[in-house]
Amino acid sequence: MIEGILIGLKTALSLKNILMVMMGCFFGTIIGMLPGLGPMTAIALMIPITYGFDPATGLILMAGVYYGAVFGGSTSSILINAPGIPGTVATSFDGYPMAQQGKAGKALAIAAYSSFAGGTIAAIFLLFAAPSLSKVSLSFRSPDYFALMILGLTAVAAFSSKGQFLKAMMMAVLGLMLASVGQDTLSDIPRFVFNNMNLSDGISFVLVVMATFAMSEALMIILRGTDPSSAAKAISLKELGSIKLDKEETKKTLKTIPRSSIIGFIVGVLPGAGSTIGSFLAYGMERNFVSKEEKEKFGKGSVHGLAAPETANNAACSGSFVPLLTLGIPGSGTTAVMLGALLGFGIQPGPRLYMTNPEIFWSVIMSMYIGMVVLLILNLPLIPYIARILAVPRTFLIPMILFFSVTGIYLMSFNTFDIFLMIGIAIVATGLRLYKFPMPPLILAFVLGGLMEENLRRSLLISDGSFSFLWERPVTAVIIVFTILIVSWQAYQSLKTK
């Protein structure tokens, strides 16, 4: 492991990669601060750029964007009560009241220190958990992988939006349908191409991500008439106050960090759960841990109440890399986008990544530490200035998002058919999003589609067409039981509400 850490450090500490982490954190913070534009949009816009780099650098850049976006989301939650991403909603419960009391600088500092500590502790967990889990997952067979993918899709569908399980499952099926367009990987038989040569290679993953997130987000902003930059304008005008914490505040923050890190990391590892559930769970648990007097302060500017979700959401981000790096199965929409980008580089994440591409495996883990340091040292003092950059009116912001989306896809294929296909998918996605059909299950399913079919093919061929492979191996059976439990829970919740 020491050798791996050194390999990772060597790669991550190269000047180019440090610059990438810094750029990623900076860019991610800007996007994350804009309400509605989250890490997935930020990463989607970055993908065409990453294809110009080697895989390790590309992934380091995307990881930086991810952390930056989560941090940026916290900033708008604290300063204007407008969370940039769902994972920072819990941050606003106590962060915003603190800002209203004239302690915005302190709230930002607590958020930054907690994020740093949560991310770092979780990265240490990842350092030990990932190689061990990689070794365990080497014993996994095709039926186990197929069952894991079903579990991942079901979990993401269950958690992606409350009370919308059926809609989310429909989106997952739509994602799988889109993934099936093009030649069959084994027999090269064309499927759903309708004699159109442009579809024979299938639909590009970047195209689907850009259309469903970046472009449809831009269209949604225009449709609703909202101005995301109004948040930034409010921030730049605000008096932040001191960012120095006193002894009491430091003590409270330090108490909260370890327990929230553990909660965040564990939740992050679970498929589908991610930073949103992690932060809410940590907030709720923290309320039970503190004294009665402190409990009263929750929702009114409690230091514990701010530190807990901030620590947990960053720990969950690191945790979500565990299933991606060790099993090759992303547990969230954001890591699904990263998986798609890795597949684009010709790299198959999974237990063997640890052995075949140690420099990627370890450099991503090492770059997480560097990312945290960058966020703490550079972003915190720069927040007021970043906010000023952000005060770009939407009349310029939206055309720029559309420009980067269209150009990004054009530069990848130099084919105008892809532009029209992207516009078509973006229009459909905008319509679906209006009626609360969630997009993360669609992306996850689109990325997993090929792998899922491959593992189902192997499993069915081994079992001679029988679906008994789903319960013959204990590991597969346990995973299937978990999937059934999630579906049953959703059905029960639905009946209970009625």
Partner: protein, 156 residues
């Protein structure tokens, strides 16, 4: 009786799944693969049935949360304009070239979204695209076909 928009979308999804399933059955597989436990059409067939099943459930089951959208407050006009501009951009990018088509796309987008500060609009269209193209050519070695700039002798 008013049918909710979500039910209509679900019905459309049901029809899409049925069409997908029909097309999946039409996939021509190799004769030796016809009776194999798994061939090129097996997975799509499962997906077609899954889509129909889920959409069917959504149509049949009563809705827990009514998701109705107030269309009066939505700005469809601007979205339609932008989509038309994007299609126009896609149609001209190869024929006219990247520089002119992208600059005009940006300029028109700013205008239709309500921007009237011409100085900024010009700066963030033609010079911005020129710098972007220079970065692509000079730093990333990505060549962009541009008949207009070629005609002017700016690029080779």
């Amino acid at each position: 009786m008013k049918i909710s928009s979500v039910k209509i979308i679900s019905l459309l999804f049901f029809i899409l799944s049925a069409f997908y399933l029909y097309t999946a059955y039409q996939i021509q597989v190799f004769s030796f693969d016809e009776n194999a436990p798994f061939n090129a059409k097996t997975f799509p067939i499962y997906l077609g049935y899954a889509g129909m099943f889920l959409a069917g459930l959504k149509i049949i089951l009563p809705e827990r949360l009514k998701e109705e959208v107030d269309h009066k407050v939505l700005d469809y006009k601007k979205v339609i304009f932008l989509v038309i501009i994007m299609i126009f951009y896609g149609l001209t990018i190869l024929r006219v070239g990247f520089f002119v088509s992208t600059s005009i796309f940006l300029l028109l987008s700013y205008y239709f979204l309500g921007e009237r500060r011409w100085k900024f609009m010009i700066i963030f269209s033609f010079p911005f695209v020129a710098i972007f193209m220079f970065l692509l050519h000079g730093l990333l070695n990505i060549y962009l076909r541009d008949p207009f700039l070629k005609y002017l002798g700016i690029i080779g």
